[in-house]
């Protein structure tokens, strides 16, 4: 459903600081895939997500979503079919707006500029019902400003609003990395529940090898701009962390090095 063809991307092109992240990346994401992405420092995991989301444009190559060329589509237009959750819990919600106002912005996904009321009794009921799904009692605090919520609550909300209008693709960029262990469990459970129920094709970057193995049906490992491991289904199910590290060493001819890696 998502195809990256011969994608290249470099930063600071033509300067001494030129940094070629991808020179010829090819990658296909199948319908219903839940892919965890791991990789060594500077492998290009976040850049990959940002290229797909349209935060940066590619230097060369093509991006196809459901067969449509989205290479030139700006970020806000891709948002119609791509949902995103970021590492920083502060990044996915508007702090000075209330819980229901944040949800209303997400709910308006393809109609952001009309003069219809942002919130009406029907949408409010719907927001309440959706929030109750989180089990955090946020449905009783619709008019609370989001800045008063904890990081975990904000991240749960971000996940909810990112998936509210059934996106074709969900991009999770280390979305539990800034949370405490108990909250990580909560957000991971929620992530799996939403993805399984809505059958959203997902790319999840993580530094936690255990999560990468446990979650999803496919795992890719990146190194210096290329995908060095692509492990699926049955093979992934029986994978251990030791095996994974060995496989990386064989594929990349060096030890796996990620400063922030969490083994379990």
């Amino acid at each position: 459903m998502l195809e990256l063809k011969n994608v290249s991307k470099a930063f600071n092109k033509g300067t001494v600081n030129e940094n070629v992240v991808f020179s010829d990346l090819n990658f296909t994401l199948n319908e219903g895939d839940f892919v965890s992405v791991i990789g060594s420092n500077g492998a290009g995991k976040s850049t990959l997500l940002n290229l797909i989301a349209g935060v940066f444009s590619v230097d060369g190559g093509q991006l196809l979503l459901d067969g449509n060329d989205i290479t030139k589509l700006p970020e806000h237009k891709r948002a119609r079919f791509i949902g995103r959750v970021f590492q920083d819990p502060m990044m996915g919600t508007a702090p000075s707006m209330t819980i229901e106002e944040n949800m209303a912005v997400a709910y308006a996904r393809s109609d952001h500029y009309s003069l219809r009321w942002g919130i009406n009794p029907q949408t409010r009921d719907m927001f309440r019902e959706r929030l109750s799904y989180l089990g955090l009692a946020l449905e009783d605090r619709l008019s609370t400003k989001v800045e008063l919520l904890s990081g975990g609550q904000r991240q749960a909300m971000t996940l909810l609003i990112a998936t509210m209008s059934n996106p074709r693709l969900l991009l999770l960029d280390e979305h539990t990395a800034a949370l405490d262990p108990a909250t990580v469990r909560l957000i991971n459970d929620l992530t799996e529940r939403i993805i399984n129920e809505q059958h959203i094709t997902t790319l999840m970057v993580t530094h936690n090898l255990e999560h990468a193995i446990k979650m999803g049906n496919r795992l890719i490992m990146m190194d210096r701009g290329s995908i060095v491991l692509d492990i699926k289904d049955d093979e992934k199910r029986s994978l251990t962390i030791e095996q994974l590290l060995d496989m990386f060493e064989q594929a990349a001819h060096e030890k796996f090095s990620d400063d922030r890696v969490i083994l379990q």
Partner: protein, 299 residues
């Protein structure tokens, strides 16, 4: 006793007239400064732009209400240009505003053909209202109050629509807004146009009220607007949208009242910019100073 009373009434009524007419400008500054989080200096040029356009049209026999409408459109164009310089030209917000403001100085002189235009003995919005039978003494307050109430309610309503939510999300967290499909560049241009439209409308209204337009009348607009927004916020807080726009208007009144009192106390009119600046600095630094006092008192 009656002398003091009449001085007080005089102070209050002039502060109310000015607070209301400049209050529309304060609402404009509220949109950029608070909603969009964009420090927009265009207002220093769009305020006299509104005054110039109105003065030329009204002096030429044009309907004074329509003249205000044309002024507003001119202000919207000016704000839109700052927005395009910022979003498409990638010029920082502050500099984009300064560029438009500077260009507007020449444009305003071109529009008027000279540095000021008198509107004495010419039919204005105020004389039209007076002709409806409103007593002379309260004509300005009545006219401005009606205008301010209508604009405030329309602005409150706008900020509660989907468009308004997109505008607020853009100012509050542009990253989130884009990730949810909002064209944040377009929202910035729209917000700046809306804001400067109101500022120019206020300029046109003030020109009709004081009976002249002057190319230099925009100096200090941004500081006066900020003072209104900040004073209002300090006094009333910003519980919700209606409250926040109300607080900008209350701030505008209190700001004009303090100016009137300062003049009454014998300060020269030329000292007012300095006084205003000090007032804004005090308002902006109060939270920090409070923090320092708290820290030192607990340690």
């Amino acid at each position: 006793m009656t002398a003091i009373f009449s001085v007080l009434i005089g102070l209050l009524s002039i502060s109310l007239e000015q607070g209301l007419s400049y209050g529309i400008m304060a609402l404009g500054v509220y949109i950029t400064f608070k909603v969009l989080d964009f420090p927009d200096l265009t207002v220093e040029g769009s305020f006299p732009l509104g005054a110039s356009v109105t003065a030329v049209l009204v002096a030429g026999g044009f309907n004074p209400f329509l003249a205000l409408f044309v002024s507003m459109l001119a202000g919207m164009a000016a704000g839109g240009i700052t927005g395009i310089l910022n979003t498409k030209g990638h010029i920082t917000g502050l500099l984009a505003g300064i560029l438009t403001m500077t260009a507007l100085y020449s444009i305003n002189l071109r529009i008027m053909g000279r540095s000021n235009i008198s509107l004495l003995n010419i039919d204005t919005v105020l004389t039209s209202v007076e002709n409806l039978g409103v007593p002379h003494g309260v004509v300005a307050i009545t006219t401005f109050a009606i205008a301010v109430v209508i604009i405030k309610l329309l602005l409150d309503a706008l900020l509660k629509t989907r468009l308004g939510f997109s505008l607020r999300a853009t100012g509050n967290n542009a990253n989130m807004a884009r990730a949810l499909g909002v064209n944040t560049d377009a929202m910035k241009v729209f917000g700046l146009a809306l804001s400067n439209g109101l500022v120019a409308l206020s300029g046109g209204l003030v020109a009709q009220y004081q009976g002249f337009a002057d190319v230099g009348m925009g100096i200090g607009t941004i500081v006066a607007g900020l003072a209104s927004v900040i004073i209002g916020e300090m006094i009333m807080g910003e519980r919700n949208i209606g409250y926040a726009t109300m607080s900008a208007l209350v701030g505008s009144f209190i700001y004009r009242l303090s100016i009137a009192i300062a003049l009454r106390l014998g300060f020269a009119a030329t000292d007012l910019k300095l006084l205003t600046t000090i007032l804004v600095i005090i308002a902006l630094t109060t939270p920090q100073i409070r923090k320092i006092i708290k820290v030192s008192s607990t340690s």
